[in-house]
């Protein structure tokens, strides 16, 4: 007996809206949770030395640190993309027994405290490290205390974010399309380049941004492995931390800059990878 649904009265609509409103037991902790995340950021904005801001930001140290941060984070991300996508592909496609072990190992930096990563890098690539001593002896290359060292520290910490994101997408990608490409005579590399990669491009984008943001914020591994010197290794997070000891106002101003960068990144992503229901 198909009849159009009766129009709801205003009271019915109100009752329905009321029913989907979160119950107190969820609403209160949710509000506390939101405040917990928002209030500190708000404090940064409220307490920011707005008047002194132009002076602080005009100081050459700040610009140096910001440019160094952006440059290093971008280089680290490029490194992560160039090495991480192939690694993600291998992890997603290989069925070898040691693959799962390898997957656990390469994602370890994701959960490892970054300082520990820095210590590990120092033991591997430091001047007396198990690899670093040969780099020094054969090529005269020492990575600690160099900008390259910063890039390596950041890539070490950030690459797993990209690998995990891309690998997940590769696993859930439609194998049928790859098989179709193969039966049509595409080489394996062509299939990867023309079929697989476009399929997972959104994940590559998301992983790249995640990795970049992680690299930009990297502190522990950087100060441990690359040290701290303005212009070579002192990135923004280091500058913020160290400024907190001598000039808290400057630290707040620097933090504000990083907050603005973060907001800009989120705004840029809003439409692409941060839709409601997205896994990111």
């Amino acid at each position: 007996m198909p009849s159009p649904p009766p129009a709801r009265t205003a009271a019915e609509v109100a009752a329905l809206t009321d029913r989907v409103r979160p119950p107190w037991a969820l609403g209160v902790p949710a509000a506390v949770g939101a405040a917990f995340l928002v209030v500190p950021l708000l404090a940064l904005v409220v307490r920011a030395p707005w008047r002194g801001l132009p002076r602080i930001l005009a100081e050459s140290d700040v610009r140096t640190a910001l440019l160094l941060s952006l440059g290093c984070a971008t280089s680290a991300t490029v490194l992560a993309v160039v090495l991480g996508i192939p690694l993600a592909w291998v992890l997603a496609k290989s069925t070898h027994r040691i693959t799962s072990l390898l997957r656990a190992l390469v994602t370890l930096p994701l959960v490892l405290p970054p300082v520990v990563g820095g210590v590990a890098l120092l033991l591997a690539l430091g001047r007396n490290g198990i690899v670093g001593r040969w780099l020094d002896a054969w090529f005269g290359i020492t990575l600690p205390f160099t900008t390259a060292g910063v890039v390596i520290a950041e890539a070490f910490v950030a690459m797993p974010f990209l690998v995990v994101t891309v690998e997940g997408a590769l696993r859930s990608a439609d194998r049928g399309l790859e098989e179709a490409a193969a039966t049509l005579g595409a080489s394996r590399l062509t299939t990867f380049r023309r079929v697989t990669l476009p399929l997972v491009l959104p994940a590559v984008g998301a992983g790249t941004v995640l990795a970049w943001a992680r690299a930009l914020g990297e502190f522990g591994a950087t100060i441990t492995f690359a040290g701290n010197y303005p212009g070579t290794t002192q990135t923004m997070p280091l500058a913020v931390y160290l400024a907190m000891e001598s000039d808290p106002e400057a630290a707040v101003a620097l933090s504000l800059v990083l907050l603005a960068v973060a907001v800009a990144v989120l705004a840029g992503l809003r439409d692409r990878w941060l839709r409601t229901g997205s896994t990111l």
């Binding site: 001047r127 007396n128 600690p144 205390f145 701290n228 160290l242 907190m244 001598s246 808290p248």
Partner: protein, 266 residues
């Protein structure tokens, strides 16, 4: 090895002194006497001592002795750069005692009204720490100016950075470090790991590092020193124990530990 032995000897010598200081009213050591009178009343519970990184070894030892002398007390340390510790105290960090590696950082909290009447308890001078194999072939302070020598310094706002800068200016040299560490222990760590050729640290740090580094002395006419003031923090919730700890550091027992560690008398 020899250092542990000497600490053990120091402890062995110090312990009876402590017991005497606490138990007898006829103690001839003035400062120990103050400690004992405080001990009878309300010296118990825990205190947090914010101390310069260069005090790590000696204050840990003094803390143990203090706890032994005053059963029921617990001393927790927060070692770090004096500048950073002073800032965090001024921002309300829960410190009961502050021991700074320079008068300047102590003044920071005194002028903010967070401490009063600091007492100087030690002096320290600089020494160059190098890895035992001396990869940079450093034999004197002038070698640090060479571009081929990788040098680690403390940041300029930390006392060890300020004092190092004074040494360089005395020597008439310019040093471009490869890294500016957060505190003096950070510099020492970079020398121990062998990632730098030299680091400017205190003589006490070279001594505490044992065989892991070698020291290259800085001539007296070039060297610079810093003094270590100590004070109780106004906001302390356990002022009696905090004062007792300060008194202990200033006592002959505290002095013995500090001298063993290489500190000079104030």
């Amino acid at each position: 090895m020899s250092r542990r032995l000497s600490l053990a000897v120091a402890a062995a010598i110090a312990t009876p002194l402590l017991l005497a200081g606490c138990g007898s009213s006829g103690s001839d050591s003035g400062s120990s006497g103050t400690t004992s009178s405080a001990a009878t009343s309300s010296v118990n519970g825990s205190i947090t001592v914010f101390a310069a990184a260069s005090l790590t070894g000696s204050f840990t030892e003094i803390g143990k002795q203090f706890e032994a002398a005053h059963p029921g007390t617990k001393v927790t340390f927060n070692f770090g750069p004096s500048s950073g510790l002073a800032t965090s105290i001024n921002q309300g960090a829960p410190a009961d005692v502050f021991a700074s590696a320079s008068a300047k950082n102590m003044d920071q909290i005194v002028s903010a009204g967070n401490a009063a009447d600091p007492k100087t308890f030690a002096n320290n001078v600089m020494e160059i720490a190098i890895p035992p194999k001396n990869p940079g072939k450093v034999t004197g302070v002038n070698d640090l100016a060479k571009s081929s020598v990788k040098v680690a310094l403390c940041q300029s706002q930390v006392p060890c950075g300020t004092v190092a800068a004074k040494v360089f200016s005395n020597a008439g040299i310019t040093v471009k470090p490869v890294t500016e560490e957060v505190d003096v222990k950070g510099v020492l760590t970079k020398v121990v790991s062998g990632d730098v050729d030299a680091g400017m640290v205190y003589v006490t740090d070279v001594l505490s590092a044992g065989d892991t580094v070698k020291g290259v002395e800085i001539p007296e006419n070039v060297n610079a020193s810093t003094s270590y003031p100590i004070a109780t923090v106004k906001a302390s919730k356990n002022a009696a124990t905090a004062s007792a700890f300060v008194a202990y550091v200033l006592s002959s027992d505290g002095e013995a530990v500090l001298q063993k560690a290489g500190f000079a008398k104030p």
